[in-house]
């Protein structure tokens, strides 16, 4: 538990409006990246991030630090907002499988980043949506397993196991040549 976050929530509730601003400063870029990895569209990301923090502000009275950290709470809001976004788009695909949408249909050509994710997306697409989210949160966001578990659901141990299975799946699927070829592409 991040006691600083809990303290800021308490202060906000007690009338210190600026305390929410501090929480915003701490999390806005993290949430931005998290949403970006799922949506890959700058305008959509900004809409969703705005929605996340306005919802957080509205619901902050219902945040219960006993049930989990503020961090996990706001990531869950972001996760649900992304699902809502794809619902709104009326995508015909399984909304749980949103990672595919990000890479396949709205992905590489829209990226501001210089790297091409096409090959990595092939790796990650062999994983279940939950495994992918765990890999992204652990490897790209460097998030602790406990916190990932709070966001995606399940225990810390189950998240660790899912992560190791994901890595094993990729290795078995593509073997050493796949990884080496990819490294050359990335060169």
């Amino acid at each position: 538990m991040d006691e600083d976050d809990n303290l800021r929530v308490q202060k906000y509730r007690a009338g210190e409006t600026e305390s929410f601003g501090l929480l915003y400063d701490k999390y806005v870029r993290k949430i931005y990246r998290y949403v970006y990895y799922k949506v890959f569209d700058k305008e959509a990301v900004e809409d969703i991030v705005s929605d996340v923090f306005l919802k957080a502000l509205k619901k902050i009275q219902s945040f219960d630090s006993v049930k989990g950290s503020f961090s996990a709470w706001i990531y869950r809001i972001a996760r649900n907002s992304v699902i809502d976004y794809y619902r709104t788009l009326k995508q015909t695909r399984d909304i749980e499988d949103i990672f595919d949408l990000g890479f396949d249909e709205r992905g590489a050509e829209r990226l501001d980043a210089e790297v091409t994710l096409k090959k990595v997306s092939e790796y990650l697409k062999t994983l279940s949506p939950k495994q992918r989210e765990i890999v992204v949160l652990r490897v790209w966001e460097e998030m602790p397993y406990r916190q990932i578990a709070e966001i995606v659901g399940g225990s810390e141990e189950s998240v660790k196991m899912a992560f190791s299975r994901a890595v094993r799946n990729i290795r078995e699927k593509f073997g050493p040549l796949g990884a080496v070829a990819f490294l050359m592409i990335m060169g």
Binding site: R29, Y32, R33, Y37, E46, V120, Y123, S164, A179, V180
Partner: protein, 247 residues
């Protein structure tokens, strides 16, 4: 990045020791995953503007929370309206048994009585884009239900807006009250009602002045009267199920 690769590999070994058999391939794979992390360019202008919006929203949200508490108090208070009204009615009848009938019909909402007793007609809700006077309420035809939505409230002093039923041609029982409204113009405001408005009904939105304690009390917070007409600042409005469909 090498340290990160080693950290993740170490974790993986702890979770699944058999992965040690594929040490080199594992290192390559984790390296690929790490190096392919998208470089997300965050628009700092967006971050700054959103923060401004959030901070303003935070102030508003806190205000609404206070109003929410206020409304809860109001709901509690309203439970006792019939009892209080009956007590006042008995007292009033005992003291002024010979009073005109028109004065006795307003006892359900005693604080409103004196101001509405002189009023003969009330305006039906109009387009709220009309000029806003210093003390005025904007409310259009409403959908039946538990919420009345005001377009604006303009008040020269802090106060409340109450929604009441219509005891034609005067207001009847209070059905709900806003939280405290500060001096000036307040935008769109929802008032939760403790009794639902029915389709095809007529109701009143009435501006009251806070007596200074910041707590709504229907017997102390009196209607605001118009300086020119001397009448209570109020709007009579209707409810219609199909409101908005013809727009």
């Amino acid at each position: 990045m090498n340290n990160k690769i080693e950290d993740i590999i170490k974790e993986l070994y702890e979770i699944d020791p058999t992965l040690r058999e594929h040490k080199n391939r594992l290192r390559e794979l984790v390296g690929v995953l790490l190096s392919s992390k998208p470089r997300v360019l965050i628009d700092e202008n967006f971050i700054r503007k959103l923060k401004e919006k959030i901070v303003v929203g935070g102030r508003t949200e806190r205000g609404n929370s206070r109003r929410g508490l206020q409304s809860e108090y109001s709901w509690w208070a309203f439970r006792f309206v019939p009892v209080g009204a009956l007590a006042v009615l008995l007292l009033f009848v005992a003291v002024r048994l010979d009073s005109p009938v028109s004065e006795r019909t307003l006892m359900d909402a005693p604080s409103l009585k004196q101001d509405f007793a002189q009023s003969e007609t009330y305006s039906i809700a109009r387009d709220s884009s009309e000029n806003q006077s210093e003390n005025s309420i904007g409310i259009s035809t409403q959908k039946p239900g538990w919420i009345a939505e005001l377009d604006y409230i303009s008040a020269s002093e802090a106060g409340y807006v109450v929604i009441s039923s219509s005891d034609d041609p005067t207001p009847g029982n209070i059905m709900g009250a806003s939280g405290i409204i500060t001096q000036g113009t307040t935008g769109r405001t929802e008032i939760k009602l403790y009794r639902a408005m029915k389709n095809g009904g007529e109701y009143f939105a009435i501006l009251l002045k806070d007596d200074g304690d910041g707590v709504f009390n229907f017997s102390k917070d009196l209607p605001v009267t118009d300086e020119i007409t001397g009448r209570a600042v109020s709007v009579r409005f209707e409810t219609r199920r199909d409101v908005g469909k013809d727009l």
